[in-house]
């Protein structure tokens, strides 16, 4: 695949990784730096004693959105006509 330049679809595909990084890293850092747990904390009676500032579901939806974008990008690439530069350059290791 020719990767010398990125088209709009490639940039949208890369957005998937950005959403995953926001869901996992950025919002995880928000919870950590504000001294909040990452998930609900309950006591023995089952009552919620502490909640995260950013709910786990919000982070999970962001990660899921990123994964879906990657999946759609893969399907999009599969449906595009094969590029003529697709042939991998065959090079010998001991060249």
């Amino acid at each position: 695949m020719n990767t010398d330049s990125l088209d709009t679809a490639d940039l949208i595909g890369m957005l998937g990784g950005a959403l995953i990084a926001v869901g996992v890293v950025v919002l995880g850092a928000v919870n950590t730096l504000t001294d909040n747990p990452h998930t609900e904390v309950t006591n023995d009676a089952g009552a919620v004693t502490a909640e995260p500032l950013v709910p786990a579901d919000v982070r999970a939806y962001l990660v899921a959105a990123g994964l879906v974008i990657w999946g759609l990008y893969g399907i999009y690439k599969l449906t595009r006509p094969a590029e003529t530069t697709e042939q991998p350059s065959a090079a010998l290791a001991d060249d």
Partner: protein
């Protein structure tokens, strides 16, 4: 050492990046990553088949294991309406993905399906007991890396399959290979 490998020549974040997989350390690392990730899924699939036979009862996990997670509406639907699909596809999909990765056959197809399965395992992780960065997330990233770098061409059968007449007549098949 001859590996008939791909050369990556790309542009990332505004910079030209060029490196090849024909170097011994790149080839070594890609092949190791592929085989270890392949064994992870092959072993998981074989364990299920040895345990329960041709189909594996996933309904407990689908209905209750994922309860409260964002994928529960999907997993619950399958548990109630089409349990045969995940019951077949989880063990045999894992075995097929594992074999594909270990032998480097249809590597990108195997890795992409590994990402799909691992995504459900990751997002169906009720309670996030092991945090947001856990084995499943790393599995997704490793599968993605294998697909991205075409690791099947390094000591894998895809390097040979890509040169067959069938693939040369249907070049789009390369998207599914290493």
């Amino acid at each position: 050492m001859s590996t008939d490998a791909a050369t990556v020549d790309t542009r990332l974040f505004g910079r030209e990046v060029a490196y090849s997989f024909d170097g011994p350390w790149s080839a070594y690392w890609m092949a190791l990553l592929r085989v270890i990730a392949g064994w992870w899924f092959l072993n998981a699939g074989l364990g299920k088949v040895y345990d329960q036979g041709l189909t594996y009862d996933t309904t407990g996990w689908l209905e209750f294991g994922t309860q409260g997670t964002i994928v529960h509406p999907i997993t619950d639907f399958f548990a109630a309406n089409a349990a045969i699909l995940p019951n077949l596809m989880v063990p045999w999909g894992q075995i097929a993905i594992g074999l594909g990765l270990i032998f480097g056959v249809l590597t990108r197809l195997a890795a992409a399906n590994g990402m799909i399965l691992a995504s459900f395992f990751y997002l169906g992780n009720a309670g996030w007991g092991h945090g947001f960065v856990n084995g499943e997330l790393f599995g997704i990233l490793v599968f993605g890396g294998i697909a991205l770098f075409g690791a099947g061409r390094v000591f894998g059968l895809d390097a040979y399959l890509e040169n067959t007449a069938l693939v040369e007549q249907h070049p789009r098949l390369r998207y599914l290979m290493g």
